[in-house]
């Protein structure tokens, strides 16, 4: 083991995250989407953090970020707490990711990924859903 002072905050020790702005033009009145891939740290699994609206026009980039995470780690987290809109395209991307890695999904209590989407799609049965206030 190479001697390496363990930093107090593991997140600070991570490599710089890659951030992919999505959507060629900023849509009127809705937050521009952004997808960040955070490699696994000492305590956290590999994480994809999505911000803004996810729809057909940018779900491919979300899928790509999930693929990148699943390629590096057997357990990944999709942090969707800052997502302002999503639909069945997003649910499909999460299904594909859940087939490749153990998936945990973080959602905001008042966010768009509500209990109906998770239950009706069955996604709540193959992924762990964590609801944050």
């Amino acid at each position: 083991m190479i001697s390496d002072a363990s930093p107090a905050d593991p997140a600070r020790h991570r490599p710089a995250s890659s951030s992919v702005p999505a959507g060629s033009s900023a849509p009127v009145g809705s937050p521009q989407a952004r997808f960040e891939f955070l490699p696994a740290g000492e305590r956290e699994p590999a994480t994809v953090r999505a911000v803004g609206d996810i729809d057909l026009t940018n779900v491919g980039q979300f899928q790509a970020a999930l693929d990148q995470a699943a390629a590096t780690s057997s357990a990944i987290t999709a942090d969707l707490t800052a997502v302002t809109y999503c639909d069945s395209a997003t649910i499909r991307a999460l299904f594909i990711a859940a087939r490749r890695a153990r998936l945990t999904i973080g959602v905001a209590a008042a966010g768009p990924i509500n209990e109906v989407l998770l239950r009706v799609s069955g996604l709540d049965q193959i992924a762990t859903v964590v609801t944050l206030d």
Binding site: S25, P27, C86, D87, R92, F95, R99, V116, V120
Partner: protein, 786 residues
């Protein structure tokens, strides 16, 4: 013999132990089946007889029987010797009960068992731990053998008398006698000191250390001249004591006055206890609710008595209490079985009683009840080896008694407060408003939650709604009492009256009969959402503000008249009707919102209207928040404030976008989002509608262009939305052709397409998909919660 009947199989336990009701009950409670002796019904006659003799005797006795020397004792032994080990000791191996002196008594018992001959010991020194600390004690006792039915020695009986007081008393008398002996011989000062020191040092048990000081001639200073049992230079043995020292190690000034020095430990403890109690009371007074109070008490008690853990428990129903404590227990980790047992024992005891019990791993427990009903108790745990003396017990008792009193008051207060809040909320009116309404209410006199202002929304026959705002004269409780009556009355009159003018006329009559109700101002209106009209009449109330979707505003100033019960006999109230344009916002309010010292009412109303107009298309809840925060004076409101906002359904939304532009979907969403908040749709329902619309337009986006010739006209997606006060209808139409929707609605395989249509059905109340040669139209409706 009385026991003969009990020798038969059966329960028998109560009979075997019948000679002493109290100890007998505790003996009967022992799980005898778990001991080598088995159930009492199966015991040999010899054992039953021995137990009966033991329990019948007034002499202090204990006995042991069987391979593990299982322990029994009687009431006298319990009282004199066993102390807090009772009733824990019953039925346990004697070597466990008297573990701390087993080295002394074990060999004697072995001798009795081996030889069958009795032992005799007089005033044997034993260090017992019967009060939580090792204690010097002297016992005179005899161990005699007990034989089974076949005559074999299988146990022993100990008859014991305690000599502790006699032995210690004699020892102290001897020291006093020796100190004063041989007075005829004249000695030098040094010889006298040396002689006294020798005598004092002989009794280290009663005098662990002594210090002898001699005063100088001027009596200002005392110098250390002799000591026993204490090292030189010890802080308690200063070489010199000054008579003038305000805080001396030893009270020499008292001795100089010719008084004998007293032990002030008790006084110091009492003073310490007073200050601890004062601090405890202050900490409790700062705690709010009962649960917070218990946690605070646990923390303070733990600090005061140096306990390792303090646990408080509340029983509401059933046997499992809710517990809190200090240090705070880890989540999911409750109190130990020993602590819960102590709490359960003590909770039914009379107030101010304290129970001492052994805890886990050699620890000791003090427990006290917190009320007379058995619903709460508190326990402190002390680590093994920490003596729990009388002063600790007393302090614990004082603190828990105080806590019990404070808790009783807090319970009364919380009950009274709950009654008051329930009544206030009943007076105040609706907490659930129909769709499209938002309200804010701020009473002027805290901690009251009601004042003289009110608002009301009353469902009326024919899909109409009564809308009222009122303001009684004055503030605080008297105004609130009048308000409650007028609010109920206004509900009743609106249900019967043909219009708001007649409703106010009825209220005039009512108000003239209630002291303090005259001169109340009221705005009373009937809203007809289908017709888009508001019919109103005003009794001296500030004019409501009507803001259009385009941010124009006006005041509803027609049909104004005097406040309630102020009308001359020949005046009649009038009414007027205002048309509500689509998306209009109506705000009723009381003058507390706009009235300011040094400012005319008109100016305040203008400022309020301007604020409202800025948020003409926001959700009514947001409008209410903006108005309240924009209008709040720096010093807070001086009067009660009531605000009631209604948003009329907006004009339908129509958006058309080209399907081949990637930004089209985002544009559709942005326009729909804005329209939904203007239509006063709540965030959960708005989210459902957004997703359903997204699925429908996403399908159009994906499929509309499929299989079309390249030179065909670009496909358009058209979204329309319209709202009533009960539902939203949404259509998404395109000019292309769709994939046929799935024939059945079973779950699609995970990860495959097809969730979109299912989501639409799950999120909306009614969905129809109508494909045709010229395009596809999805029509969906969502019912709004009333």
């Amino acid at each position: 013999m009385a026991l003969a009947a009990d020798a038969e199989p059966g329960p028998g336990a109560a009979g075997t132990f019948a000679a002493d009701a109290e100890v007998g009950r505790d003996l009967a409670a022992v799980d005898w089946a778990a001991t080598p002796l088995g159930r009492p019904g199966s015991w040999p006659q010899s054992l039953q007889t021995a137990v009966d003799i033991l329990l019948s005797s007034r002499f202090s006795m204990w006995m042991a029987w069987g391979p593990e020397l299982t322990f029994f004792c009687n009431a006298a032994y319990r009282r004199h010797t066993l102390g807090r080990k009772y009733p824990w000791a019953l039925g346990r191996p004697a070597s466990e009960v008297w573990a701390e002196i087993w080295d002394d008594i074990g060999p004697r018992i072995d001798t009795v068992l081996a030889t069958g001959k009795a032992t005799w010991d007089e005033a044997l020194l034993l260090f017992l731990e019967r009060s939580g600390y090792p204690e010097e004690s002297y016992h005179t006792f005899s161990y005699s053998p007990l034989r089974d039915d076949a005559g074999a020695v299988v146990g022993m009986l100990c008859v014991v008398s305690e000599d502790t007081e006699r032995v210690i008393g004699e020892r102290r008398m001897a020291t006093l006698r020796d100190l004063g002996s041989d007075p005829s011989v004249v000695r030098t000062e040094a010889e006298t000191l040396e002689f006294a020191g020798r005598q004092l040092d002989r009794n280290r048990q009663d005098l662990p250390f002594t210090l002898t000081y001699l005063f100088d001639h001027d009596r200002a200073i005392a110098r250390l001249a002799g000591s026993t049992g204490i090292a030189a230079g010890h802080p308690a043995a200063p070489a010199m004591l000054a008579a003038g020292d305000p805080d001396p190690v030893w009270p020499v000034a008292v001795l100089l006055r010719g008084e004998s020095a007293r032990d002030v430990t008790a006084e110091r403890l009492a003073a310490q206890r007073e200050s601890t109690l004062a601090g405890f009371a202050a900490a409790l007074a700062a705690a709010g609710e009962i649960s917070e109070m218990l946690t605070t008490a646990a923390r303070e008690i733990a600090a005061a008595v140096h306990a390792s853990q303090v646990t408080a428990a509340l029983w509401s129903s059933g046997d499992n209490p809710a517990s809190t404590g200090w240090p705070r227990p880890a989540p999911g980790q409750g109190a130990s079985a020993a602590v819960l047992g102590a709490l359960d024992v003590v909770r039914h005891q009379p107030a101010a009683s304290v129970v001492v019990r052994p805890g886990d791993q050699g620890s000791s427990l003090l427990a006290a009840p917190l009320d007379g009903t058995g619903s709460s108790a508190i326990a402190a745990e002390f680590p093994a080896g920490r003596p729990v003396g009388a002063e600790v017990r007393d302090l614990f008792s004082v603190l828990t008694s105080h806590l019990a009193q404070v808790l009783a008051k807090a319970r009364d207060y919380e009950q009274a407060r709950a009654v008051a809040l329930t009544l206030q909320h009943a007076i105040l009116g609706p907490t659930e408003l129909p769709h499209g309404f938002a309200a804010r209410y701020t009473p002027a006199v805290p901690p009251l939650e009601v004042g003289g202002d009110w608002y009301d929304v009353i469902p009326l026959p024919g899909q109409r709604t009564g809308v009222v705002a009122g303001d009684c004269v004055g503030r605080g409780l008297p105004a609130a009492a009048v308000m409650g009556q007028l609010r109920s009355a206004s509900q009743a009159v609106l249900l019967r009256a043909p219009g708001p003018a007649e409703a106010l006329a009825d209220l005039d009559t009512f108000a003239s009969r209630i002291p303090g109700a005259e001169c109340t101002t009221v705005f009373c209106a009937i809203l007809d959402p289908a017709a888009g009209t508001l019919t109103y009449s005003c009794a001296g109330h500030p004019p409501p503000i009507l803001v259009t979707a385009g941010a124009d505003y006006r005041l509803l100033e027609a049909a104004r008249s005097l406040p309630l019960a102020m009308l001359p006999a020949d005046w009649r109230r009038s009414q007027a009707t205002a048309v509500l344009p689509p998306g209009a916002t109506l705000m009723l309010y009381t003058d507390g919102l706009v009235e300011r010292r040094n400012q005319s009412l008109d100016k305040g109303i203008d400022a309020e209207a301007v604020t409202m107009a800025e948020y003409a298309q926001d959700h009514p809840d947001d409008v209410a928040d903006h108005v309240m925060s924009a209008m709040t004076p720096a010093v807070g409101y001086e009067d009660d404030v009531a605000v009631l906002i209604y948003r009329h359904p907006p004009a339908p939304l129509t958006v058309q976008v080209p399907a081949d532009d990637p930004s089209s979907l985002a544009l559709l969403r942005a326009r729909l989002r804005r329209w939904l908040s203007a239509a006063a749709i709540g965030s959960r329902e708005a989210t459902d509608i957004m997703i359903a619309a997204g699925e429908a337009s996403g399908n159009a986006f994906e499929h509309a262009t499929a299989g079309r010739p390249a030179d065909a006209a670009p496909v358009q997606i058209t979204l329309t939305a319209c709202a009533t006060h009960t539902m939203v209808q949404l259509t998404v139409a395109d000019t292309g052709s769709w994939q046929p929707p799935p024939a059945d609605r079973e779950q699609p395989a995970p990860g495959t397409r097809g969730h979109g249509v299912i989501f639409m059905h799950a999120l909306m109340n009614d969905v129809t998909i109508d494909p045709s040669a010229h395009g596809t139209t999805v029509t969906m409706t969502k019912d709004l919660k009333p």
